[in-house]
């Protein structure tokens, strides 16, 4: 019942992409750097998102990726299903079609449908745009906090980029 790194990385990558879209197409390299994810691995993930119709690619120099829809029209469920496959906790043929030889084939139909539906409802009601907003709020809050600490101590030696990188690293250890 755990989400794998595919889902977590993918979500982070899309938040990052959405946050930088005003600067034009976003390269996997830049996302990989900012998010501290292996570039090659990220490429695979983002290609899955392309196949799923969530992002568009722009080839050639200066190219990269772009959201295929508005961030407010992409749900967390859309993203996770692209990367993790079906989110159903238990796959039962009876739920989808009527592949079972009897109409009431197994107990799954009863329990699992409820559970699977609840999961689907949850992930489909959170939108990428919300995550972007939330992430932006957190980052600026943390940045201010850091900068204040630096000022209190010895004169700040860290650049803004270093501070950002550290925040990303901290996020990584905390589940997303």
């Amino acid at each position: 019942m755990k989400l794998s790194t595919r889902g977590r990385y993918g979500l982070r990558a899309l938040i990052d992409l959405a946050s930088h879209e005003d600067e034009g197409a976003v390269s996997t390299q830049s996302i990989a750097q900012r998010q501290n994810i292996s570039e090659s691995y990220l490429e695979q993930l983002i290609r899955m998102l392309k196949k799923g119709g969530l992002v568009l690619s722009v080839r050639g120099a200066g190219g990269g990726y772009r959201l295929a829809k508005k961030a407010s029209e992409i749900s967390v469920g859309d993203i996770l299903r692209c990367l993790e496959g079906s989110l159903d906790a238990v796959a039962c043929p009876a739920i989808e079609g009527s592949d079972c030889d009897s109409a009431n084939a197994c107990v799954s139909k009863f329990v699992w449908k409820r559970i699977n539906d609840a999961i689907a409802q949850a992930v489909d009601s959170v939108w990428l745009s919300e995550l972007v907003a939330e992430s932006h709020k957190l980052q600026t809050a943390q940045k201010e906090q850091k900068e204040q600490k630096e000022q209190e101590g010895r004169p700040s030696a860290k650049s803004r980029d270093e501070i950002n990188a550290q925040i990303i690293r901290e996020m990584q250890n905390q589940g997303i």
Copy 2:
């Protein structure tokens, strides 16, 4: 986001146990036979359920296991958490305590709480007693259907036990 066999087997085992409780303590051997699960593996699972306080053991010859509470007081969530650990799709320290060094540590807190809560709500609202009732309904329905088919064809060579065993086997391929 998939349930492992631990959860599925465990659920089947408890349904089986609850269904046979009126005959006294239920041995792991008998459950393993009826449910077609490795006895040794099942023992491990049921010991986890004991540690979790869902079943009691009765030692010695003629012993076995018993539900620790009424079937109507054991939720699917209780069972799955015993066997699969936390059902949270993503573990984030920020959700539980305030282990994060900042109050608003990561985006997880926002998204994952909603998702995790939905899953919890779903599994905690289905009770073992419902599964037992459902399973009983299905089995008798399927049994009748089978027996009818047998009568139509050549004279029934299969015993009632063989028919039961087959139903169990079919259930197994269908998700539970």
